[in-house]
């Protein structure tokens, strides 16, 4: 008899039988786009044989990826998140959307909020941060005031784009001036994140981080795109400015390595690329390094709700980023997509919603209206 090799071994349970009412029978996806900012994200709708529906959001995806997700999820039951995490490892956005939809289904099936499913609430409200869009200060001021009025007390501000004609010292002064202006507009006791969007070299980032230490930013976000630990050590050895990064990372081991080398002060896995079950694994590792987690979020309102459930359940969550559209049309879209939209805060915190699943209702007709493609 031929000896079984490891590939033959059934590492995971087979698909559910055709009589299992919780098995996934249908999967649809909408590729949606905000009309003004052009921000794209994907919403998956998973339906069980008994007709229970759950939604999961992720970042931009292709039709082929959604087809792959469908193949992976079909016949699976919503508790099989580890199967999905492995089966869709090469399609991180799909892993996020399917596993998050699984959690929505689990919650709805058991009539409990997702945060209860994830080990129960560790906090009764979740600190949130509005990420402001715009290149110039003038464009940032209006949204800052609006976000303050909507209860936000922490804000992410983009750094100015730097071209090679801009002397570094003058650039540092300009960044400092931008922070000062934002602070003066918003008043005392407000907090800021400076989003470098992976645009700086490690050397420039180190210089900027050191120059801004006394500004007490919450952290310097994604200072560089170079995530090797020797590159990051240039920043972390020179400066006490907290460094948050990881918006492009979807491999748990990458974060483990950054933590091991002391290269990171705040884990920022994207909600668009990582399911919350995966981020919980990252967070468990970060906890032993006394490092907090604040998921990056540049998607839609369904992922916002997901992020709040995650933050509620984690002991080491710090803040949940929420995109703050500067255009009214984009804001309207986000409101139309879900009822129970949580993208509003009270004194800097979002409340938990004690309703089954993600605690929101998705409006599929709104998804149709804003979708570029329905799969």
């Amino acid at each position: 008899m031929r000896r079984k090799i490891w590939r033959d071994l059934p590492a995971f349970a087979p698909q559910a039988t055709s009589t299992d009412r919780m098995a996934i029978a249908n999967l649809h996806g909408w590729r949606v786009r905000e009309p003004v900012s052009g921000r794209r994200y994907t919403v998956l709708r998973l339906e069980t044989r008994q007709g229970l529906v759950g939604y999961g959001e992720c970042g931009p995806a292709t039709r082929a990826e959604i087809e792959e997700a469908k193949a992976a999820a079909f016949g699976r039951r919503p508790h099989e998140s580890e199967f999905i995490r492995h089966r869709l490892a090469a399609f991180p956005a799909m892993e996020a959307a399917v596993n998050n939809a699984f959690l929505d289904l689990q919650g709805r099936n058991t009539n409990t909020p997702v945060y209860q499913f994830l080990g129960g609430p560790t906090r009764f409200k979740v600190r949130v941060q509005a990420s402001l869009e715009g290149e110039k200060e003038d464009a940032l001021e209006g949204p800052l005031t609006q976000a303050f009025q909507r209860g936000y007390r922490a804000f992410s501000v983009p750094i100015p784009a730097r071209d090679s004609m801009w002397r570094m010292q003058a650039y540092v002064d300009a960044v400092r001036a931008r922070i000062a202006r934002m602070r003066s507009l918003a008043g005392p006791d407000l907090d800021f994140v400076l989003d470098a969007a992976a645009t700086l070299t490690p050397g420039d980032a180190a210089l900027l981080a050191t120059a801004l230490e006394k500004n007490h930013l919450l952290w310097l976000d994604e200072p560089t795109g170079v995530l090797t630990h020797d590159a990051l050590a240039r920043i972390t050895e020179e400066s006490v400015m907290p460094v948050g990064l990881g918006r492009f990372v979807h491999d748990i081991g990458v974060f483990q390595d950054l933590l091991r080398w002391g290269s990171i002060d705040l884990l920022r896995p994207s909600l668009g690329l990582n399911s919350i079950v995966k981020i919980r694994r990252m967070a468990a590792i970060a906890e032993t390094h006394y490092v907090a987690v604040a998921p990056y979020h540049n998607g839609g309102p369904i992922a916002t709700a997901t992020g709040i459930h995650l933050a509620a359940s984690l002991p080491n969550s710090f803040i949940q980023q929420i995109p703050f559209p500067s255009s009214e049309r984009d804001a309207a879209m986000r409101t139309e997509l879900v009822s129970g939209n949580q993208e509003v805060a009270k004194e800097g915190f979002a409340p938990l919603v004690n309703k089954p699943g993600l605690g929101i209702e998705v409006d599929e007709r709104a998804l149709d209206r804003y979708s570029e493609e329905k799969v």
Partner: protein, 445 residues
């Protein structure tokens, strides 16, 4: 009886001792539980029958001591261990463990078969038996239990040999006593000035303070500023001649600690304590690299093993084992020895009862790398100090001229009054009081 006579007497009492070893008997213990030990002969002790003394531990008692909540924190009833011997010499030790009094008492009793019937002159062997022989290496419960027993064994050793424990350990390095510091708080500049005056008048040279806020792993401008401002106010009010330490109490992450440490560098703190939680030494190193302020840690670490990574990586400047948790005199001395070789100083932690505090003084007095001894008391003696005097018969752990005077009698140098213990009966375990952040999540207090 002179000590040499006493040793002689061991031989004469040999028959009685053998009779004791051959006869398992019931022991009653203070916690109300009672066990008949499996054997009166501790495992492995037969091998020493020709080389050991005839001194034997014949009984072990555990006392829980609860003070009124208004006098002392309710989470830490004192756990005292009393060992009796066949020569009438008794020894006292302290196994107090904050929030876990019942577990510490039970664990002392769990070690009973190792202790009763053993030769207390074999302090090192018994330490090995309790720590290594327990298979599961020490956490705080086992560490505290071993600490209580080990201190009592050393008390007996000193009494039998007629020397204070610090002499057995090679001291005193400085016969004038042991430098100490008290706890203090001052939230305004005026309060800090007034405290500074009182401190100088009392001859005290060092104090320790807390941070103003609970902290999270990333912090806001407001809380960072408050913490730095608080420490600046303390330096300004106390003046340049009083050493002051600040206990971060593991509230910050390394990330937040690095920011604070950088900004308080010009204040020249005595040391900053527990700048982040204690489990991950390399994480602490991240912040430690960022500052010249001396860093101290170690009150929650157990046995010399618990300190080896901190010492080997050279992360901190000061180690703070607690003699009631680390493994008693034996373990505290070992940590000090390893620290000395690495140029690290010792400021042992003590925030429990008087027995452990005094035991710690003996080690302090015998180590060249000693910095200062903590005690959870204040510049002005309070009600707690009155109780301590009631328990020990002298003003225990009170400084004169900035130092705790060294005991001069053999052993630990004092007796615990059992009559006094009865005045503070054990009222049960109370948990360490947890603290919570604004959003209801648990904070590191």
């Amino acid at each position: 009886m002179r000590r040499r006579d006493m040793f002689g007497a061991f031989g004469a009492l040999g028959a009685a001792a053998s009779a004791l070893r051959g006869a398992p008997q019931k022991f009653s213990i203070g916690c109300g539980c009672a066990f008949a030990p499996a054997s009166a002969i501790p495992p492995g002790s037969e091998a020493f029958k020709d080389v050991g003394s005839k001194l034997r531990i014949t009984n072990m008692q555990v006392f829980g001591v609860t003070l009124d909540e208004k006098i002392a924190r309710s989470d830490r009833p004192y756990v005292f261990v009393k060992l009796e011997t066949n020569q009438g010499v008794v020894g006292w030790g302290e196994a107090t463990l904050e929030g876990k009094a019942g577990a510490a008492m039970a664990c002392v009793n769990d070690l009973r078969d190792f202790v009763v019937g053993s030769d207390p002159m074999q302090s090192e062997h018994l330490y090995q038996l309790m720590y290594i022989g327990s298979f599961y290496r020490g956490g705080p419960v086992l560490g505290s239990a071993i600490s209580g027993i080990d201190q009592a064994i050393w008390d007996i050793r000193g009494k039998v040999l007629g020397m204070p424990v610090y002499e057995l350990l090679g001291g005193p390095v400085d016969p004038r006593g042991v430098r100490g510091y008290y706890h203090a708080q001052a939230w305004t500049l005026d309060a800090a000035r007034e405290l500074g005056d009182r401190t100088r008048q009392a001859g005290v040279t060092a104090l320790k303070f807390q941070l103003p806020d609970l902290l999270e792993w990333i912090e806001t401008d407001r809380k960072l500023k408050r913490a730095v401002k608080h420490m600046e106010t303390l330096r300004e009010g106390l003046g340049p001649d009083i050493d002051f330490a600040v206990d971060f109490h593991a509230r910050p992450s390394p990330t937040v600690a690095a920011i604070l440490l950088r900004e308080i560098e010009p204040l020249h703190l005595f040391f900053a304590e527990e700048i982040c939680p204690p489990e991950n030494a390399r994480a602490m190193q991240r912040a430690a690299r960022k500052s010249t302020t001396p860093l101290a840690t170690g009150e929650r670490l157990i046995a010399a093993y618990g300190f080896s990574e901190l010492i080997d990586l050279g992360i901190v400047d000061v180690l703070q084992p607690d003699i009631a948790h680390v493994g008693g005199i034996t373990a505290l001395w070992k940590v000090a020895a390893a620290a000395d070789a690495a140029g690290i100083r010792m400021a042992p932690h003590a925030c429990e009862g008087p027995v452990g505090g005094i035991a710690s003084l003996h080690v302090d007095a015998a180590i060249p790398n000693f910095l200062a001894q903590e005690i959870c008391g204040f510049v002005e003696a309070g009600e707690m100090n009155r109780v301590w005097e009631d328990l020990t018969g002298f003003p225990a752990m009170r400084m004169a001229g900035g130092r705790y005077p060294l005991p001069t009698k053999p052993g630990l140098g004092f007796e615990v009054s059992e009559a006094a213990l009865k005045r503070y009966p054990f009222q049960g375990t109370r948990p360490f009081p947890p603290a919570f952040q604004e959003d209801g999540s648990l904070a590191s207090l």
